[in-house]
């Protein structure tokens, strides 16, 4: 069942090595620049090392994939190194496992990751932190690979927090501006709320299973279900809390839009394609645990649907192109959790994969637009760009079509599969399904609003100062590859009414079998499935059309649609005022609490008592004229001598 394959270590370690090399190069560059401000240093070496290391990891990941392909479904490649933490009640190893689920994640992380590395060579050109950027990016890939390869929950947590760290560093990459650093801090802290839940969840798992080995836990769930159902459900809920932080689900979603302060390739890699999907991976990885707790699954589905709705409705009104994509990402992640809520593990991973393609593409495309527009992100100052940057435009269209779920593109199949599973679950899930469908309509609308505002209509930028231009090939080539994948990615999971194998579902079956066995299977008649597919197509086409044409006139359309309801605009454009609510309910009270503790309790109450006692002692001492010169030093010496004398008298006086 398991085959030792030590080469697995190279997959994460090569990017780690690359990161170290890039870090050294960064400091070399700084040194050279101190001698000569115009020197660039060996930055070409940094990008070459960084890209090569990820490419090498990708190649090994492909080899691993074929090894798994040629083995039976339950085989996993493993390699363990040493005992990491011997806590007594649990022992945690440093060990890697690549099974079928990991291999999918590996290919996405290293494959999309490599493309984004290449793109960054062009995007970050001329930035003084060029080598540092690649050091962080490689470090991120390392952490993400640890996350998907670790054999146990705490090893996974190492990657989990590691990607969080890189996210923090990369969001705040342009820290001189101030607000990116604040955004990075917010991301880290909000994630930590989830991480705290994660930790408590892991304690509960230790208390039930005595191990945190992921496959052991997954396999032992049925055996422990009778005795520990409540504790297992609580653990599942807490781990989902961790997923809410990392994957920006309600109520912990507010950090992701702010994270757009980072360079755009970061948004594509970390805040769209890979890191933010870690929560989905976690749930699928431990699917039997979640399947054993139907109430928790309902919570997950509800949170997912709500998050999808919040994200999409907020994206409707954003003017910043990256903010549209950020809220869209929040919304699409919501879809993945909506799918998980009805036990559609493979569908969630399917959407994870296609989303990595099309959202990675859209972010990179937006980056190409921003790059070509001299750092302009406001769509109100774009328009008519299609003729200036044809390659960016065409690839962006592919991404937009996939995101909005236009028929036969990758996003269409993956989203429809999630909605079909939700519908088939019945009961309360009908309501969730309805939210999902409404969100799909909104998605098509805001996506084509964005396309229209950016590339169509009249040019609204200052043509005298801004000369839009196409990006270099090093940036457009990754766009084209991702565009291709976004268009054809659907073949991984064609619906069974097409009478073909669902490749991804079949591939993941050994991993998801444990969870599926604990759930009552729900089926959908062929007729209903066709109806749902048709409904999805019609809605997507209609709302895409609607959004596209309405916004050809420019951003004034916003006023025409929502003009009479400013409070609605305020509510929606601020992600349902969540930040304001948290500020009032959490941030301010916390600051007040800290102030009260520091000033009132500590300084007045406790220190007041202490200083009073001190003054009293000093007073008594002064009256006894022990303090000859009044200096504290001699005071201290007298007290010390007194204590010593007392001790001697006490010991040797021996009254006992």
């Amino acid at each position: 069942m398991t085959a030792t394959w030590n080469a697995l270590w190279l997959v994460p370690l090569l990017p780690l090595l690359g990161s170290a090399v890039c870090g050294v190069i960064h400091f070399l560059c700084l040194k050279q620049r101190r001698a000569d401000p115009n020197a660039t240093g060996p930055i070409g070496a940094a990008s070459a090392v960084a890209c090569a290391s990820v490419l090498a990891s990708f190649v090994i990941a492909v080899v691993a994939f074929f090894k798994l392909l040629n083995a039976d479904g339950f085989t996993a490649l493993t390699s363990s190194a040493w005992h990491w933490i011997d806590a007594g009640s649990v022992s945690i190893d440093v060990a890697m496992v690549a099974d079928r689920l990991s291999s999918v994640m590996l290919l996405v992380v290293t494959g999309v990751g490599f493309l984004i590395h290449v793109y960054s060579i062009g995007y970050m050109k001329g930035d003084p932190g060029f080598a540092k950027f690649f050091a962080y990016l490689n470090l991120f890939v390392f952490a993400m690979l640890i996350l998907v390869l670790s054999s146990n929950l705490i090893g996974l947590f190492v990657g989990w927090e590691g990607v969080g760290l890189c996210s923090y560093l990369l969001i705040g990459f342009w820290y001189e501006k101030g607000w990116p650093a604040a955004a990075g801090q917010k991301a880290f802290v909000v994630n930590r709320i989830g991480d705290a839940c994660f930790l408590v969840g892991s304690f509960l798992l230790v208390s039930v299973f005595g191990t945190l080995d992921l496959s052991d836990v997954a396999a032992s769930v049925p055996a422990q279900l009778d005795a520990h159902a409540g504790r297992l459900a609580l653990a599942a809920l807490l781990l989902f809390g961790g997923a809410c932080g990392k994957s920006a689900q309600f109520p912990l979603l507010t950090w992701l839009p702010d994270a757009m302060a980072g360079p755009t390739p970061v948004s594509a890699l970390i805040h769209a394609a890979t890191m933010v999907t870690a929560g989905v991976y976690l749930v699928v990885r431990l699917n039997p645990l979640f399947a054993a707790a139907p109430e928790v699954l309902t919570v997950i589905g509800t949170v997912g649907a709500l998050t999808a709705l919040i994200g999409a409705s907020t994206a409707l009104l954003q003017r910043d192109i990256k903010k549209v994509l950020a809220y869209s990402t929040v919304s699409q992640l919501g879809y993945m959790f909506l799918g998980l809520g009805s036990g559609a593990w493979a569908a969630a991973i399917f959407h994870l994969v296609t989303h990595a393609f099309f959202k990675g593409l859209l972010f990179l495309g937006a980056g190409s637009v921003i790059h070509g527009m001299h750092e302009e992100q406001d769509m109100a100052r774009m328009g008519g760009l299609w003729s200036y940057m044809p390659r960016t435009f065409l690839t962006f269209l592919c991404g937009a079509a996939a995101l909005s779920g236009l028929p036969l593109l990758s996003g269409f199949f993956s989203k429809d599969e999630i909605l079909a599973h939700t519908f088939a679950s019945g009961g309360f899930h009908y309501a969730l399904w309805f939210v999902g469908v409404a969100t799909a309509a909104m998605t098509a609308f805001y996506t084509w609003r964005m396309v229209s505002l950016t590339f169509f209509g009249e040019a609204r930028f200052d043509a005298a100062h801004v000369k839009p231009h196409e990006s270099p090939a090093v940036m457009t080539a990754p766009l084209m590859i991702l565009a291709f994948l976004s268009v054809v990615g659907g073949v991984l999971g064609l619906p069974h009414v097409f009478h073909v194998t669902h490749l991804l579902k079949t591939w993941l079956e050994p991993v998801t079998a444990g969870g599926d066995a604990l759930l009552t299977a729900h089926t959908l008649s062929v007729g209903s499935e066709w109806v749902l597919l048709g409904l999805g197509s019609v809605l997507a086409l209609a709302f895409a059309h609607y959004g596209f044409h309405l916004y050809k006139r420019g951003p004034e359309t916003d006023d025409e649609i929502y003009g009479s309801r400013p409070e609605v605009v305020g509510f929606l454009s601020s992600a349902w005022s969540l930040d304001r609510i948290y500020d009032k309910l959490v941030v301010k009270p916390l600051k007040l609490g800290a102030f009260l503790i520091a000033v009132v309790v500590d300084q007045f109450a406790i220190d007041g008592l202490v200083n009073g006692a001190g003054a009293l002692a000093a007073n008594v001492a002064r009256r006894l004229r022990v303090l000859v010169d009044g200096s504290v030093k001699s005071y201290a010496l007298w007290m010390g001598a007194g204590a010593a004398a007392l001790a001697i008298v006490w010991i040797f006086g021996g009254s006992a």
Binding site: L590, G614, V632, A644
Partner: protein, 506 residues
């Protein structure tokens, strides 16, 4: 004999320094650095030779000293090491040369006296961890404290006198309370031999436990006895702060473990709920305190209250994981907080300020400083892969097994830690350079990098291979844990294990 040499070598060096002329600061520093490095080497050797899997004392040295009058109790000069003290000895021995090295930057006056007190203090601290006789222990305890009055009082900053008096009052109060306990214990048991007292299976009076616990709680400090700490830390010179955080506070936690839990298991079991509560509340309380600070050094001092709350929490969970985590976290706190104080000292030497608002944008002017600062902060917030996480995880896991409630309260410290430390990081390193003078700051020099590098390496080592350290302490701690189980088993069974443990047994 090795332990005697280890303990008294610093004192011998102090005597040498006292005899050398005060003009030649370079020579004095070289002597101090050489002596402390030698001790560090001996400490490392002791660590390597130490058998981790075996409970009990090793390398014991013993010679007759004097006899206490009245009860005719023979007092021995007895030193020895076990799985609890070994880590403390190594931590002390490794920190000292780095502290000496760091003092080159900020101690320019009265160098001779400074190094003298520093070395005396080292003998005192090593003695505290190694002493196996109550009288000897008390002697070293006092010896290790006196130098700090001078270090803070003479080389400290503006409010040093206030801080010294406050520290002194607290310390004397604690010492006197402990003295009562020491005397009563010796006379009631007829021995001052720590080994014999630990082997004693009968129940010792709880009030003696209380007197020890109170003294150590002040030292740790456990809330509400913590208010001396922020002042002492803030006013102390960098080397003083590093030693205070790195070693002196550990004398408190070490004492709680050795002369609290290990010597009085019955009383410790009874007192555990109180200490769990104090530890967990201390985590949150210290974090809130840190959040409100505007002075970087004071912020770190307050963070110590929070971090030591973790240590107390883990130890009084009285579970395997909790004890291991607690002991490991003592080392971790010494490393991360020591590093933080070193970094504050380095930036203070350049800017002459510790106000958070006076910094900003230092990442651009001092990139190497920024690198070390960020790594240290990450170690302190418990990022997995670095040392802090391993300790915190075992502590919180171990506490969860004893009391889910206080574990959950403690877990919030994970969030709070990120809040105040990342806020400090942002204020110091990020944002635009607001103050023109900060534009021309020199980055770290070779000496500064060299003195922090060993600690950073240790932080990574413990983060990746913690068993090097856990392994050394496990034998002793497991024996202690079994003893506690016996005590619990013998007592009222209803008062004993947590629901989780019960359920697993059932």
């Amino acid at each position: 004999m090795g332990l005697v040499a280890l303990t008294f070598l610093p004192l011998a060096a102090a005597v040498v320094i006292a005899l050398l002329p005060g003009r030649n600061a370079a020579l004095l520093r070289a002597v101090a650095f050489f002596a402390t490095t030698l001790v560090a080497g001996m400490g490392a050797g002791l660590f390597v030779d130490f058998e981790g899997g075996v409970p009990g004392l090793q390398s014991v040295y013993e010679s007759a000293w004097f006899t206490l009058p009245g009860a005719d109790v023979p007092v021995h000069f007895r030193l020895g090491v076990d799985g609890i003290s070994i880590l403390m000895v190594v931590l002390t021995a490794i920190l000292m040369p780095l502290v000496v090295l760091s003092s080159y930057g900020h101690v320019k006056e009265r160098v001779k006296e400074f190094l003298f007190w520093l070395l005396v203090m080292e003998t005192g601290m090593l003695g505290v961890f190694l002493a196996l006789d109550l009288v000897l222990f008390y002697f070293f305890w006092e010896v290790s404290l006196v130098p700090l009055y001078f270090l803070v009082g003479i080389w400290g900053s503006d409010r040093r006198l206030y801080a010294t008096v406050k520290f002194f009052l607290y310390t004397v109060a604690g010492s006197l309370v402990m003295l009562v306990g020491v005397i009563e214990l010796i006379y009631s048991q007829g021995t001052s031999d720590v080994g014999a007292l630990l082997a004693n299976t009968s129940e010792l009076p709880a009030w003696i436990f209380a007197s020890f616990a109170l003294a150590f709680a002040i030292k740790v400090p456990v809330i509400p006895f913590h208010t001396w700490l922020a002042d002492a830390h803030t006013e102390a010179p960098t080397s003083g702060s590093v030693l205070l955080a790195g070693v002196l506070l550990k004398m408190g936690t070490y004492g709680l473990l050795r002369f609290g839990i290990q010597m009085f298991p019955h009383a410790a079991v009874d007192a555990a709920p109180l200490f769990l509560a104090l530890g967990a509340i201390g985590i949150v309380y210290g974090a809130l305190l840190a959040m409100a600070q505007t002075d970087l050094k004071r912020l770190i001092a307050c963070s110590s209250v929070s971090h030591l709350g973790f240590v107390v929490l883990g130890m009084f969970a009285l579970t395997q994981a909790g004890l291991r985590g607690g002991v490991l976290q003592m080392v971790n706190h010494g490393i991360s907080t020591g590093l933080l104080f070193l970094l504050v000292g380095m930036v203070y030497e350049r800017t002459h300020t510790r106000e958070l608002d006076r910094f900003g944008g230092l990442a651009a002017t001092m990139p190497l400083f920024a690198l070390f600062f960020v790594i240290t902060v990450l170690s302190s917030v418990g990022l997995p892969g670095l040392n802090g996480f391993v300790g915190e995880y075992m502590i919180l896991l171990g506490t969860f097994e004893a009391s889910p409630l206080w574990s959950v309260v403690g877990v919030t410290g994970v969030i709070f830690g990120a809040i105040y430390l990342l806020r400090a990081t942002r204020k110091v390193l990020f944002g635009p350079v607001v103050h023109e003078s900060n534009r021309r700051l020199a980055d770290l020099n070779g000496r500064e990098i060299a003195l922090m590098a060993p600690l950073v390496l240790l932080a990574v080592w413990i983060g990746v291979r913690p068993n090097t350290f856990i392994g050394k302490t496990a034998g002793t701690l497991d024996a202690l844990q079994r003893r506690i189980e016996d005590v619990r088993g013998a007592g009222d069974s209803a008062a004993a294990p947590s629901p989780i443990v019960e359920e697993e047994q059932g």
